[in-house]
């Protein structure tokens, strides 16, 4: 077996051929980093038994430009993203799979950085990557690296979280500041210079979730406001539960540099992506206790009660602004298109 030249080498078509070159890549780049008993089985699949409870499964494909950014990279992001999707059901995430799509010519050094970062994120989270796949596409047909991850977890006895369970009167909690990830990525990609003061919030939230559901198992639902931001996620939940929501702008935590950057860029932080935040809806009388648990946890230090569920046949999400007015938090079709005539 030849040693890959990781410092100078690049991904070649042959690395996806299914032949020896591919085996070398997997052996030297992935197997070492992800090393665990399931990968060591050497099969095309991982075999495991799960603890008792309902099994949940989630998948997420990750494409991000730039691949490396303050606060993380596509590797850690792909681990956090899927762990969070599993965790939002209240589940304990158990195993991950990974699928890489690599573009011909991608530097092996960068690939190694990404893989190591994934391995770290997975170890830190205590959720092993137990099976994987690699494909190579021709130059120009990819954007360096795309990563798909799938996660499997188990929901403990007595928990039943779902987006259709919000009820009028419930409290809406947010685990921390919004907008950090999206603004960091945009600023870096377009060299706007804001990224000096901010970083992505990419992190896995399952430990925070475990702490929350342990103390307040009555939580109605949780969701991570990733693409589309807080606004779209809350609109989804409002629709799903057939309720309205009343938010209070004053109480929504936004870091000052993020707020300033959004104002300048003409972006509404409510619509900007997050990668390490969650929204929880719980009965009003448990809200203070839940807030306490969240704030006591390192991933929820800036948690806040940001609004309440109201009864509204229109399922509107609206917000009292810092100026005392009220505005719609619309469910946009896509990007924020100008509307002022």
């Amino acid at each position: 077996m030849t040693r890959l030249n990781i410092a100078k080498g690049r991904v070649e078509m042959v690395h996806g051929s299914g032949g020896r070159a591919m085996a070398e890549l997997i052996e030297q780049l992935f197997a070492d980093a992800f090393a665990n008993e399931w990968l060591a089985q050497g099969n095309d699949q991982a075999q495991f038994t799960l603890p008792p409870g309902r099994v949940v499964m989630a998948t997420d494909s990750h494409v991000v430009s730039p691949l490396f950014f303050p606060g993380g990279d596509i590797g850690s992001l792909s681990v956090h993203g899927t762990i969070n999707d599993v965790a939002m059901s209240g589940a304990r995430p158990c195993y991950l799979s990974v699928g890489f799509i690599l573009e011909e010519g991608f530097p092996l050094a960068d690939l190694k950085r990404i893989v190591d970062s994934m391995a770290n994120a997975s170890k830190e989270a205590g959720v092993p990557i137990v099976t994987g796949d690699t494909k190579v596409v021709e130059r120009g047909k990819g954007d360096g690296v795309f990563i798909n991850t799938t996660g499997i977890g188990v929901v403990p006895e007595g928990l039943n979280l779902s987006g259709d369970k919000a009820r009028p009167g419930d409290a809406i909690l947010l685990s921390g500041t919004i907008g950090d990830h999206g603004v960091t990525i945009l600023s870096l990609r377009e060299s706007l210079g804001f990224e000096a003061d901010i970083q992505s919030d990419s992190q896995s939230l399952h430990r925070l979730v475990a702490a929350m559901v342990e103390v307040v198992p009555e939580i109605r639902c949780m969701r991570d406001p990733t693409r589309g931001g807080l606004a779209n996620t809350l609109n989804e939940l409002a629709k799903q539960s057939g309720v309205g929501m009343q938010l209070f702008e004053k109480q929504i935590p936004v870091r000052e540099p993020v707020r300033a950057a959004c104002e300048f860029l003409g972006l509404d932080p409510l619509y900007v992506a997050n990668e390490g935040k969650l929204i929880a809806i719980c009965p009003q009388d448990r809200a203070e206790q839940l807030l306490e648990v969240m704030r006591a946890h390192s991933q929820g230090r800036h948690a806040a009660i940001i609004g309440r569920v109201v009864s509204d046949s229109h399922h509107f999400v609206q917000m009292e602004t810092v100026f005392g007015g009220s505005r719609m938090v619309d469910w946009l079709n896509g990007e924020q298109l100008p509307r002022i005539c």
Binding site: L267, N333, L337
Partner: protein
């Protein structure tokens, strides 16, 4: 003796028409009868030919103030029926909806005023006086037919005296549905900001509070007003502070036109509208030399002021009190020094407040004192607003007194329900050869306005007894109105038509001018989404009954920050500087803007910088380049201040500062040279005047070329930019001189309030013709 049957269509029910016919016929010794029908009023007459002739004349000449005859048909009755005397006959049953217009609210009539100020009258100082000639209508109506049980007056049972008037054919209050008096009708009371009911005379105490400089919340016809003494600078400033409205102009109210003369230049047309039954806010030019008589803070930086006269009995009573409760009507003609700020009561961005509880909740930190009443406001109605500094006057908002607005169309066609735009939203429903525009609903960035929109849809359809056969909306995917439209089309199983914003702007003007013939449409505004996903706010279209085709557009400028660029004109100036290749000037011109450095990079990289061919944004850029306005604190502040700055300025010389080329987008008009000329302009007023004058040259050149190319000599001017009267008048005059016929928005505003009518007419034309 000859006998005839007259069938009258128009505004002939609930306006004292039958008592009027009865009086006229009796005076002329005609026998016969009069009755309401589904489509109007039927009059059978028996008498001498000469008397019949005088009846027909009198019908038009002595028509009651609120009545309007749209159509009069006549047939001979043979054989002549045998009748004795003249009678009013009971109405046909109202099982099916009436084909009648819906009446807006109107100001107190002179007869009611005289009664209200007559110490001996039983309605002396009664703040809810009304009759068939005046008073609330639309604001009270829950459903049709227009009968008391279907209005918010259902809560009040008429006393014997009122009932007698209501049933007397000869009385002005015959079938006056809101008829009431102090014994049986709605009442007024006073509350502190803490919600305590205060005793004593309401009017007397309200006036005392105004004199002390306090802010009052007064429940009116279509909603609450916030009121204070307009001569008290501190009071006006306090109102600005509490309402969190730093700069947007406030309207004022005085006893009569004469009392306004020291503050504004009264135009003939302005005076007519001030004194009209519709009683809108009328914009008039501020006098330069008011000598500080009015608070400076009323309309800072503007050359005009919104003015109005009392229209509700309560408002009259405040002036009556201020004048020392004179009896008779003479004092109404004399000038009186009291001038009040009269501004709609709402929190920023929210709709006008109509309910008592809502007012208590939302205004407790704004008003010192509340004047409440217990006649429920069913339909909210903002004050209507018209600009009368020039002829023809231009509507800015259709609300109380004017909406629902009925527009006669060129042809009959299927019923179309149109959902309007995102800002200044209105609805429009067509029935036969008429279009009905709902009152101003507001901007759809507010949930209450979105709810009002949905309620208004049902109300408008019910009120007109019409089920839409087609539904129209804008192309933009993020207008709440368009989502409601799609859902409704789906529910009813009717076709949904997405009409491009500027097509609708042009079609609205075509609708009111009853034309389906091809026109060249010049649409100038802020932003509308085009058929191809491009944002435009300045284009030339050829529009006919089949649809539209693009003819040309302004060369686009990037909008740095999307909608943020519409709020902050300095961003548009930066965008222009960037396009000129002089980005280094951005931070030199706007050193106080924290983002001045980064906006260059943003433009460079095209981050959230959608291109848009908008004249509105060019105005913004010009205002910012001239340092007239860098950040707007209310909509259109920058262009309005620019217009004010240019007013009356003599220009040294004028040259054209534009380029036109025939490109991929048709005739492309580039105004960059004009903007460039403003950079080093030391004299703001000269710059503003040059900008407007050279803009008119450019637009004239552009339109004339397009007119020749298309072989069309009729031009529609549409879009919010034409609320700028200098631009409108200047361009109109230049085009007329060039032999082009100009169609202006007159019955409806030039801005997005007209979009619903335009959408409806575009679809109506298409579906009535051979283009289905």
């Amino acid at each position: 003796m000859p006998a005839v049957r007259l069938c009258v269509k128009g505004q002939v029910q609930g306006v004292g028409f039958r008592p009027f016919v009865h009086r006229l016929a009796t005076e002329l010794s005609l026998a016969g009868e009069v009755s309401n029908t589904r489509s109007g009023v039927r009059i059978d007459l028996l008498g001498a030919d000469d008397a019949l002739k005088r009846f027909r004349l009198g019908l038009y000449e002595q028509l009651p103030p609120l009545a309007r005859i749209d159509q009069l048909t006549e047939e001979r009755l043979e054989p002549a029926p045998a009748v004795d005397g003249f009678h009013i006959i009971a109405s046909e049953s109202a099982d099916t909806p009436l084909e009648l217009p819906v009446m807006p609210d109107t100001a107190v009539c002179p007869l009611c005023l005289a009664e209200m100020f007559d110490v001996a009258d039983r309605r002396y100082r009664y703040p809810f006086i009304n009759c068939t000639h005046c008073g609330p209508r639309y604001s009270l109506i829950r459903s049709l037919p227009y009968d008391r049980p279907n209005t918010s007056m259902a809560a009040f049972t008429q006393c014997e005296a009122c009932l007698a008037e209501y049933h007397s054919e000869r009385d002005r209050r015959f079938h006056a549905q809101p008829n009431a008096c102090a014994d049986c009708g709605p009442e007024l009371w006073l509350e502190s900001a803490r919600g305590d009911r205060l005793s004593g005379d309401v009017i007397e105490q309200a006036l005392a509070a105004l004199k002390r400089g306090e802010i009052l919340a007064i429940r009116g016809i279509g909603g609450f007003h916030l009121v204070c003494n307009a001569r008290n600078e501190a009071a006006v400033q306090r109102l600005r502070q509490r309402k969190q409205r730093p700069a947007k102009p406030f309207a004022i109210m005085a006893l009569n036109a004469a009392s306004l003369e020291s503050a504004v230049e009264l135009t003939t047309i302005g005076r007519q509208w001030l004194e009209s039954r519709e009683a809108p806010i009328v914009l008039l030019r501020k006098r330069a030399d008011t000598g500080g008589a009015l608070a400076e803070a009323l309309a800072p930086g503007l050359d005009r002021l919104g003015t109005m006269l009392p229209h509700s009995p309560l408002q009259w009573l405040l002036f009556h009190e201020a004048a020392g409760r004179p009896s008779g009507s003479e004092w109404l003609e004399a000038t009186h020094p009291m001038v009040l700020v009269m501004t709609s009561a709402n929190r920023s961005g929210e709709p006008l407040i109509t309910g008592n509880d809502q007012a208590r909740e939302k205004l407790s930190a704004v008003a010192d004192l509340f004047v409440m009443h217990n006649r429920e406001i069913v339909h909210r109605a903002d004050d209507s607003l018209i600009n009368a500094i020039s002829e023809p006057p231009a509507w800015i908002r259709l609300g109380r007194g004017l909406a629902p607005r009925e527009i006669p169309l060129a042809q009959s066609g299927p019923s179309v329900l149109a959902f309007g735009a995102y800002m200044k939203n209105t609805l429009c429903l067509t029935r036969g050869d008429r279009a009905f525009i709902s009152p101003h609903i507001g901007d759809l960035d507010n949930a209450d306005n979105c709810r009002t929109l949905e309620e208004s849809v049902g109300q408008l359809c019910d009120l007109l007894g019409t089920r839409p056969e087609h539904i129209a909306c804008d192309l933009h995917p993020d207008f709440h109105a368009s989502r409601v439209a799609a859902a409704m089309a789906d529910r009813l199983g009717v076709k949904l038509h997405a009409v491009q914003h500027h097509h609708a702007h042009v079609a609205a003007v075509m609708a009111e001018h009853k034309t389906t013939e091809p026109v060249l449409g010049l649409a100038l505004d802020g932003v509308g989404l085009g058929w191809d996903g491009q944002l435009r706010g300045g284009e030339l279209l050829q529009v006919d009954s089949a649809g539209f085709s693009p003819v040309g557009e302004l060369v686009a400028l990037a909008l740095p920050g999307g909608d943020a660029a519409a709020r902050e004109p300095w961003r548009m100036a930066s965008s222009a500087l960037h396009r000129m290749g002089r980005p280094e000037l951005i931070s030199r011109l706007f050193p106080d803007r924290p983002g001045a450095e980064a906006v260059g990079r943003m433009l460079e990289r095209g981050v959230n910088c959608p291109p848009c061919s908008s004249l509105g944004r060019v105005f913004d850029a010009a205002a910012a380049l001239l340092r007239i306005c860098e950040v707007q604190r209310y909509e259109a502040q920058a262009p309005m201040q620019l217009e004010a700055m240019a007013a009356g300025v003599k220009l040294a010389d004028l040259q054209s500062l534009h380029r036109i080329q025939n490109g991929a987008k048709g005739l492309e008009l580039d105004l960059l040279p004009l903007l460039e000329s403003l950079i080093d302009e030391a004299d703001q007023a000269q710059g503003a005047a040059r900008f407007q004058a050279a803009l008119i040259l450019a637009l004239t050149d552009w339109v004339c070329r397009a007119s020749r190319a298309q072989g069309i000599k009729r031009v529609v001017m549409a879009g919010g930019c034409f609320l700028n009267m200098s631009l409108r008048d200047g361009l109109r005059d230049a085009l007329i001189r060039a032999g082009i016929q100009v169609l202006l928005p007159q019955a409806v505003p030039a801005n997005d309030a007209a979009i619903s009518l335009g959408q409806a007419w575009a679809v109506h034309m298409k579906c009535s013709g051979s283009h289905v």
